[in-house]
Symmetry: C2
């Protein structure tokens, strides 16, 4: 006699006196039996096929590295194998916010500190003083002293090294003028794992919904799909510069509730991805009020907090806004995501980031800590870098001037590129493009002729994907079709980063214009 | 009229002409309606409580950083605040395979290369030649040349930098004498995310089972719990040095099948964690045959492949074994996990690792690639380090001798420590301990007196946890109770790493002996 225990496992005495072994993972245990085991089946379990994998994995999509990127990689190989085989000599990856892949240089101070922490044996050597700035050496010592045993090769505390979290909390305080607690910081390998952790915590089934902007960054749809929840869309209003209307939030929330969906959280991306808008303080206050009233967790994607390009807008964290409204942790559950991949640093490959988790009870925090512990810790270089971006060189430090010059150079150039590309898009026939107030993207709308839409349909392709494929084949420029982010039915967009270096922009603009004119000439109704 | 679409979403035209926005994430869409939205509910969604979070998160447990570690951290703080407040002057973390936290030094060559790749600006400087070995400089150049644009700060290909995967594949070939394909390699932030990826792919519901050794490393039980599957235990036989019997696998598989469980995969940890045994080739062949016959994916945790301490045992990868049996990718689905955290390098904080995925169809590989893409890539330093451990300095390289001395020093010392601790445990009254043939752990069995078991029950604690707590309070030594790994009912164990430095071992042994004697004197029946 055997027994299958699902859910709460129990201690059973079986003929081997085997124990209840493992917490409450559903666990198959056999109970005392004198019967021989049945003979091994001659039908093996089905092999791994698309029909037998987790359907949540099948459902998940991530357009930023979808079909178009696979095609671009193929073209790149063809170009390498046969130079001249395409009407362009390089692939320009404007599909992804990956600044250093397009020749943005890292901030020297940050890299100095990382190198010294990777190889602390050289810190005492005289040659090092010729190679590294004095404040980088000093900072490396400070950081090493914050790491138990100066062991940069050890797993850290599951939330990240305490001293680095102290530094980050101090950086948040300096930014917001409100207190931050290092125990609220969870350092992560970039922002993506942090988003997954929150989705994993909040989503129980398809009956749990997460309010997400449309258009959205597809990490959110992918993560919701992988965790088996329901994406409850709220639409940003393109006509008002991708405005976020509270009436729309309310309407979608009620619609979801009326279908039996429990909406758990609201995702806000500010500055917006792919839309580039920067929320006003008033708007942020309304959003906080809405979440508080409706008991929603506010998941604030603030990874572009350093990327604001217009003088009339400024980044304000949702924590600062909610605290300035007098709301503390008891009033609103708020998670702020930050990353070392964006900003002026653009250190995507370092996979550093954190989430600041406020307004959750101690027992929920323990659950988040437990999940973080299963993966032990995020990478230490990424942790160090997260502390550096939240505490860069200050006026008076040896590196300050070069640091400030590097930072300002990158941000002012990004602003210029955003402007130039936005204007170029707006000059194309049938294209309108909102300003990139922030982030790293433009999301132009293309009013495609019916003939182009029909041609796309004939090849079983979404019209915006059809356009993006033609663009890639003609120019080597990789953009992501709007359908990967979501868009109002019958409208077509694409996301294009503002990241190619300035000296490449004129050629890009002229290739874009030529292509677009040719495309319209071919398909104009 | 509104409509809720679960599963396959459909394009709906609503009054805003909003589109089908996002692939097939369950998605809430509203349909054409002239009705005003219902007024906002006055009942907010329930706040986030233990009752309303994902129950899979609640179920998940991870003893390696469980209650005992939290207690140890508290004692450490108390010691810092009040030196002398406990009968020991430091906490010895023997709970976790984290060598550098216990003063193991990193391999110099590896750190040199990492530092140079972090700050390539110094590669051309003359001072650098005084500070770094010539082959480290050369290796850094080689690696940079493998990275598009030499951009160590860019997201890489979702599977990792192609040139580094080439190096790793070559390392696998050199190790196994069978071909390895760089396209089979997925670089990951340590082995844990790779394990999660495979569990996520394979587990559809509680009706899907994963065969896991008992005792096991609790990453597996945690990951199975988080992904909602069923752990199907197979028991290692302590009496034969934690032997893995095929008859046991068969019996547990049939038991699972008879309960309607579809067993998808078999986890084998070799060398074993927490058990330290190294499988014989014959045994490995039987396991391969079993997986092939039963259509199971073989998930081979081979992160301790460099940690073998006995002359009569040698590590053989499951890929080598299966290829030597004449089985190719069409015959068996095999995933091998490797990590930079273990071996003689012990670079836990770098979060590098990979999985080699063979025997899956192209469409399944695409699904794995897609899931990898959602998180963009693993950290580049970890990727570089994974390439270094699979291609360390060779005879004739400038660093070779110092590298070999560092490596041999670490491994021979680990072997000595394993032996010393094993003998010490076996000298304790009522304790028996198998040899650590490999890995980083001993898993002694404690035959606890009934009086101790009753005392534990009186405090609502598992007897092995009771022992571990008493040990910690008396000596500062942190071990993990066997119940965190699973054990035969009525047997009690703990896992203790062999990682404290050699000069600390005598004191540890004497503290252990004193504590144990005192404990037995107190509770002897």
């Amino acid at each position: 006699m055997r027994r299958f225990v699902v859910g709460r496992t129990k201690s059973l005495v079986n003929r081997y006196q085997r124990s209840r072994v493992l917490s409450s993972t559903p666990l198959l245990l056999d109970s005392p039996s004198s019967m021989a085991a049945p003979p091994s089946s001659s039908h093996p379990s089905p092999p791994v096929t698309l029909e037998t994998i987790n359907p949540k994995v099948l459902k998940c999509e991530y357009a930023v590295r979808g079909v178009i990127v696979t095609l671009a990689e193929r073209l790149q190989h063809e170009l390498q194998a046969n130079p001249g085989s395409h009407p362009f000599d390089e692939i320009l990856y404007c599909n992804i916010g990956n600044p250093q892949s397009l020749c943005q240089q890292p901030i020297t101070f940050f890299r100095e500190v990382l190198a010294l922490c990777d190889h602390p044996a050289i810190l005492d050597r005289s040659e090092t003083q010729g190679l590294f700035s004095a404040d980088a050496i000093e900072r490396a010592w400070q950081i090493l002293d914050q790491i138990p045993g100066r062991a940069t090769g050890a797993y850290s505390h599951s939330q990240g090294i305490k001293g680095l979290r102290d530094t980050i909390a101090a950086g948040i305080e300096a930014r917001d003028d409100f207190p931050a607690d290092p125990n609220d910081i969870f350092l992560t390998d970039g922002a993506s794992p942090a988003v997954h952790m929150m989705m994993q915590l909040l989503i129980r089934s398809e009956q749990d919904g997460i309010l997400c902007p449309i258009p959205q960054y597809p990490l959110y749809s992918a993560s919701i799909a992988l965790h088996g929840g329901t994406l409850v869309p709220y639409y940003l209003d393109e006509a008002t510069g991708w405005g976020l209307e509270i009436s729309e939030l309310k309407e979608q929330l009620e619609a979801a509730k009326s279908k039996g969906i429990t909406v758990r959280a609201l995702v806000v991306i500010n500055p917006g991805n792919p839309t580039g808008q920067v929320l006003s303080e008033d708007n942020q206050r309304e959003i906080v009020e809405f979440c508080k009233k409706e008991g929603l967790v506010l998941l604030a994607d603030e990874v572009y907090q350093e990327n604001v390009y217009v003088p009339d807008k400024k980044f304000h964290s949702f924590k600062k806004i909610s605290r300035s409204m007098g709301y503390g942790g008891d009033d609103i559950s708020l998670v702020s995501f930050q990353s070392v991949s964006k900003g002026y640093y653009g250190e995507c490959g370092k996979r550093g980031g954190y989430m600041e988790v406020t307004g959750f009870s101690a027992d929920i925090r323990e659950q988040i800590y437990k999940v973080a512990s299963v993966n032990l810790c995020s990478n230490i270089s990424g942790q160090i870098l997260a502390s550096l971006v939240m505490n860069p060189p200050k006026v008076g430090d040896e590196s300050y001037e070069s640091y400030a010059a590097e930072k300002d150079g990158i941000l002012s150039s990004l602003a210029k590129r955003a402007k130039t590309l936005e204007e170029a898009f707006n000059h194309l026939e049938g294209v309108t493009c909102n300003k990139a107030e922030g982030a790293m993207y433009l999301f132009p709308r293309i009013h495609l002729p019916q003939k182009a839409i029909k041609a796309a349909e004939a090849t079983n392709t979404a019209p915006d994907a059809f356009y993006a494929h033609r663009l890639l084949h003609a120019t080597g420029i990789v953009v992501v079709p709007g359908s990967g982010f979501g868009q109002v039915l019958g409208t077509w967009h694409f996301r294009c980063t503002i990241l190619p270096q300035e000296d490449k922009i004129p050629a890009i603009v002229s290739r874009l214009m030529d292509f677009h004119k040719g495309f319209m000439d071919e398909f104009r109704d």
